[in-house]
């Protein structure tokens, strides 16, 4: 076993050292290079729940995919062939998930997604061993679309990077908005300067803006937008307004509405325990990714209470029952094994010195996914 695993799962391993672990979970996530913050939060959320459970018969093996698909595939092969894991989880990015999940599930392993949930895996490519605990990729964009409609916006300007997730995002928004657009723009993936797009927004006569620009792209856009003198309501999916990223955006993000299926002010006992536990252990507020990691771990733990992964049928049924206290409150799986859940609109606020979010509306209740009918598991 690698050093890193020892560091990350120190307490578990200490307990597991004596007794042979009965269940092995492989976590592949991004821990180095650009985008590492998302993987680190996923891991920390997951491990928080695992450690709280204190089960010495579960071993978690954590590896860094460097955000490279080929590395992720290689790690998955290693975990399946050498470590003989039963369950895989942790991938942040859709393109890495597409590289790993189909082959892993085809080999009879379970995969629980803590974030990435591309359309393919929710529809035509759905698989009995694949569960998305987070959402389906389009969900948060759909929420923004629904919100735009309910607010009575008539000319939103929508924008995303030119790659599959970006195209899905704009389609998701349009699916629930359904009206006329002031403009639809695809930016370059990794673009850092948005002066040209802001000028287009200004000239388009838009009454609102929806954008999906993950990571540094969103930070750049918001800073530049805040200084542009254009003052339209801004909407987006939660990714660009997440805990880790908000502090880097600062004042510029204030008041932005974002679609999310989780927020730290969601009023339920599980969430309160999660937020305070996370803050206590890691000294920072949890992010969306941490919440998905935490829920995934708890789902797993709940299923392990009633079944063993070696009995795939029973374990699948146990997972599908989703008999755990989600930090999102109500949570159940649809036939394609993606969640049915409420999706909210959050607003960026400032609490003391820290920027964070609060829920202002419920955008869509009991949302499943657009691709559920394409899945053959009906």
């Amino acid at each position: 076993m690698s050093m890193k695993t020892l560091l990350a799962a120190a307490s578990l391993v200490a307990m597991a050292a004596s007794a042979q672990a009965e269940v092995k979970i492989g976590m592949i996530t991004t821990l180095s290079g650009g985008g590492a913050s998302l993987g680190i939060d996923t891991r920390d959320g997951f491990m928080l729940a695992m450690e709280a459970a204190g089960r010495d018969d579960i071993e978690v093996i954590i590896e860094d995919d460097q955000r490279k698909p080929d590395v992720a595939v290689q790690l998955a092969d290693k975990m399946i062939q050498s470590e003989k894991v039963d369950i895989l989880t942790g991938i942040v990015w859709s393109n890495l998930a597409m590289a790993v999940v189909p082959a892993a599930t085809a080999q009879g392993k379970f995969y629980l997604s803590t974030n990435a949930a591309p359309a393919m895996l929710a529809g035509k490519g759905c698989h009995p061993n694949y569960f998305s605990v987070s959402y389906q990729n389009d969900n948060l964009h759909e929420a923004a679309g629904a919100y735009a409609k309910s607010e009575g916006y008539t000319k939103p300007f929508i924008m995303a990077p030119n790659y599959p997730a970006g195209q899905d995002s704009l389609n998701g928004f349009k699916r629930f908005y359904g009206g006329e657009l002031a403009g639809e723009v695809y930016t370059k993936l990794g673009q850092t300067d948005y002066a040209a797009e802001i000028a287009q927004i200004r000239a388009s006569g838009a009454d609102s803006i929806f954008f999906f620009l993950p990571g540094g792209m969103g930070i750049s856009f918001l800073k530049q937008y805040a200084d542009s003198g254009v003052e339209l309501p801004v909407m987006g999916p939660a990714f660009s307004f997440d805990q880790a990223i908000l502090q880097a955006v600062g004042e510029a993000a204030m008041g932005v509405k974002n679609g999310s299926n989780w927020s730290k002010d969601l009023d339920n006992a599980a969430n309160a325990a999660f937020v305070s536990g996370f803050e206590k252990k890691y000294g920072r507020l949890p992010s969306l990714y941490a919440s998905y990691g935490y829920d995934t771990a708890n789902l797993l733990l709940s299923a392990l209470e009633t079944a063993e992964p070696s009995d795939a049928e029973a374990f699948r049924a146990a997972l599908k029952a989703a008999d755990f206290d989600s930090v999102r409150g109500k949570f159940s799986f649809d036939t394609n094994q993606h969640p049915i859940q409420d999706i909210y609109i959050r607003e960026v606020i400032k609490e003391g010195e820290v920027y964070t979010n609060k829920i202002v509306a419920t955008a869509i209740e009991d949302r499943s996914s657009a691709y559920v009918d394409e899945c053959s598991m009906n």
Binding site: E63, D64, L189
Partner: protein, 326 residues
């Protein structure tokens, strides 16, 4: 027997014995790692022909690697979904047969190399480095935003492609196949280095004005070298995609080009087995350092820096001494 030959023999023996060791030690994953190293070595052998023999510092070899990968991805995905690649003017079906995929990968990447070479070889030195980088970026951005074959998400193939008479899903058999191809290409490379073409190319790198003065066109020699080089790297790309059962634009990124170059440099430029040693060491470092620290790339950087600054001739050079032709 020279030390370099002994070293080459030892490397080859090690590659052959890896599966046996992996089975004995109960580490079947080692075979996958070794397959990765062998495929990287193949890509680097390709680059070494352009770089070591031809003196063409190409920072765009990921183009050929990626084209090979997409040749596999596109053909296999069509075969997987039973949709023809095109209907008009004549029907082309997808395929899951490795030999056909390899052929397509080789032809496609050599065509790309010919085109890129025709344009890039008008320049030299730093300009050549940069224009090959630019072609790489062009292909990369194209692949990311081209939706037909998955864009940035890439293409997943559920089952590895087949080779007549072999079970390619068995790691050892697939490894054997890759190793056999590597040996074949190394044998070709060894002959190439001593052939009349190799002689002329070698001189074109060192003294192009001399080559011109004896009536040969160094640029044409280099163009042919680039095409051969691109074809081999393209073949490696098809194998790499098959190893991962997946292809994505990452294979076309400039970091990939940089890594292929790193394999050649760590191992030893213009040494027959340099790329093999380099790719092996890189994969090993990545595997071992990755387990030591999240910040393992710092150490990788340091190792690389040391090799470049103090290890003239790469690992093969350090062990076997200066290059000798017989």
């Amino acid at each position: 027997m020279s030390r370099e030959r002994l070293l080459n023999g030892a490397l080859l023996l090690a590659l052959i014995l890896i599966p046996a060791w992996a089975l004995y030690a109960g580490e079947p994953f080692t075979i996958t790692l070794a397959t990765r190293a062998v495929i990287f070595a193949l890509a680097a052998v390709g680059l070494n022909i352009a770089l070591g023999l031809g003196g063409l510092v190409s920072l765009g070899h990921a183009v050929f690697f990626g084209i090979g990968g997409y040749a596999m991805g596109i053909l296999a995905s069509h075969a997987q979904s039973y949709t023809p690649l095109m209907d008009w003017p004549f029907a082309i079906e997808g395929t899951k047969s490795m030999p056909v995929i390899w052929l397509v990968a080789i032809v496609a990447s050599s065509c790309a190399a010919l085109l890129i070479g025709l344009l890039s070889l008008r320049t030299s030195g730093v300009y050549f480095i940069m224009i090959t980088l630019a072609f790489g970026q062009m292909m990369y951005f194209f692949a990311i935003s081209w939706p037909a074959y998955g864009g940035e998400d890439g293409l997943s193939i559920y089952v590895r492609n087949g080779f007549p008479g072999l079970n390619t899903l068995d790691p050892i058999q697939f490894y054997g196949l890759c190793l056999a191809l590597l040996c074949l290409v190394l044998a070709f490379n060894a002959r190439l280095m001593r052939s009349p073409f190799g002689l002329a190319l070698n001189a074109a790198r060192q003294v192009p004005e001399r080559v011109r003065a004896v009536g040969l066109d160094p640029r044409r020699l280099q163009l042919v070298a680039l095409v051969i080089s691109g074809a081999i790297t393209g073949l490696a790309g098809a194998l790499f995609a098959d190893l991962n059962r997946f292809v994505s634009p990452t294979m076309l990124s400039w970091q990939m080009s940089g890594e292929i170059m790193v394999f050649v440099i760590i191992g030893g430029v213009a040494r027959l087995f340099g790329p093999v040693a380099g790719a092996g060491i890189y994969v090993l470092l990545e595997h071992l350092l990755g387990g030591v620290s999240e910040y393992w790339q710092i150490f990788l950087g340091l190792v690389l820096l040391m090799v470049v600054l103090f290890g003239k001739g790469g690992v093969v050079g350090m062990i076997a001494g200066r290059r000798r032709d017989d």
